[in-house]
């Protein structure tokens, strides 16, 4: 299925969860947050949250800034 991750069209397995996406995209960060269609997905819900075609996701990690 196709979803949008951080603004880019991305192809994922049909049974993909938020946890699968984070594992693939977290870039070594453990402090990661995920927004799905404009709402926060709490960390504890990542494994049970199945994605659907057309979902828009933001996968975020810390950066320096005042």
């Amino acid at each position: 299925m196709q979803v949008t991750v951080n603004g880019d069209p991305t192809e994922l397995a049909d049974d993909a969860t938020v946890a699968d996406l984070v594992a693939a995209r977290s870039g070594g960060h453990d402090r990661v947050a995920v927004a799905l269609n404009g709402d926060v997905v709490p960390r504890g819900s990542w494994p049970a949250t199945r994605l659907s075609p057309g979902d828009a996701l933001e996968v975020l990690a810390p950066t320096a800034g005042g």
Partner: protein, 234 residues
């Protein structure tokens, strides 16, 4: 910062207890080792909502930061103008009220308007953080009178946030009654960040001491410190 080594040296020299961090798309984020450095320094992380332009964006960013960092403290920043990066007062107060209601400890970056500062404190913000001048400008505290009025207008801590260019700006903030300063560019863009971080620490300590010691009133004319009594006729 030029390097992680410089970052660590500056954080340690400054004596700071709180370091702000932001959330960005993972491809554009800092390396995970930056967080390791900050963890090693023993500082508390304060997530910000930098780049947000509406209350809706800022509230969502704060919720995401709470997930990522496991803290309900947030530096609330809602920008209303891309050139000056000045806060949008209307969106800021709206976001502050929502986040306080959700249990966040809200530290808002605000203008130096004492009335807005009081409204933010009344809304339940844990502190107010007025700018001295625009973010990254290094112009110091352009309106010390407003900062002093704001200090008197609220009972919560006042943190001078933005505009500090050098150590004397930090000292002035503390002399005006601020409880702390928040700064980044003045250290990260200094020729020697570690030395400037130490200068900031000493300036904050000096300014705080001077505030507590009580400055003398200003006078128009001179007042001799050597007595005239007993002056010989020569």
């Amino acid at each position: 910062m030029p390097s992680l080594e410089t970052l660590e040296a500056a954080v340690r020299a400054s004596g700071t207890q709180l370091v702000t961090v932001a959330l960005r798309r993972v491809e554009a984020s800092s390396s995970a080792s930056m967080l390791e450095v900050l963890d090693r320094c023993g500082v508390r992380l304060l997530p910000n909502t930098a780049g947000c332009r509406t209350a809706r964006e800022a509230v969502l960013t704060a919720r995401l930061a709470r997930e990522a960092f496991g803290t309900d403290w947030v530096k609330l920043e809602v920008i209303g103008d891309e050139h000056t990066l000045l806060p949008d007062a209307v969106e800021l107060l709206d976001a502050a009220e929502q986040l306080v209601a959700e249990g966040f400890t809200v530290l808002p970056y605000t203008t130096d308007d004492p009335v807005l500062g009081r409204r933010l404190a009344d809304a339940g913000c844990a502190a107010v953080m007025p700018l001295g001048s625009p973010i990254g400008s290094g112009l110091g505290i352009r309106n010390p009178h407003s900062i002093a009025l704001l200090r008197d207008a609220v009972a919560v801590p006042v943190v001078l946030d933005a505009g500090i260019g050098t150590a004397s700006d930090a000292a002035l903030a503390m002399e005006l009654g601020c409880d702390a300063v928040l700064l980044a560019s003045a250290v990260t863009r200094a020729r020697d960040p570690e030395a400037m971080a130490l200068a900031m620490r000493q300036a904050v300590e000096g300014g705080r001491l001077a505030r507590r010691a009580g400055r003398i009133p200003r006078r128009w004319h001179a007042e001799a410190s050597t007595p005239f009594q007993g002056l010989p006729e020569l």
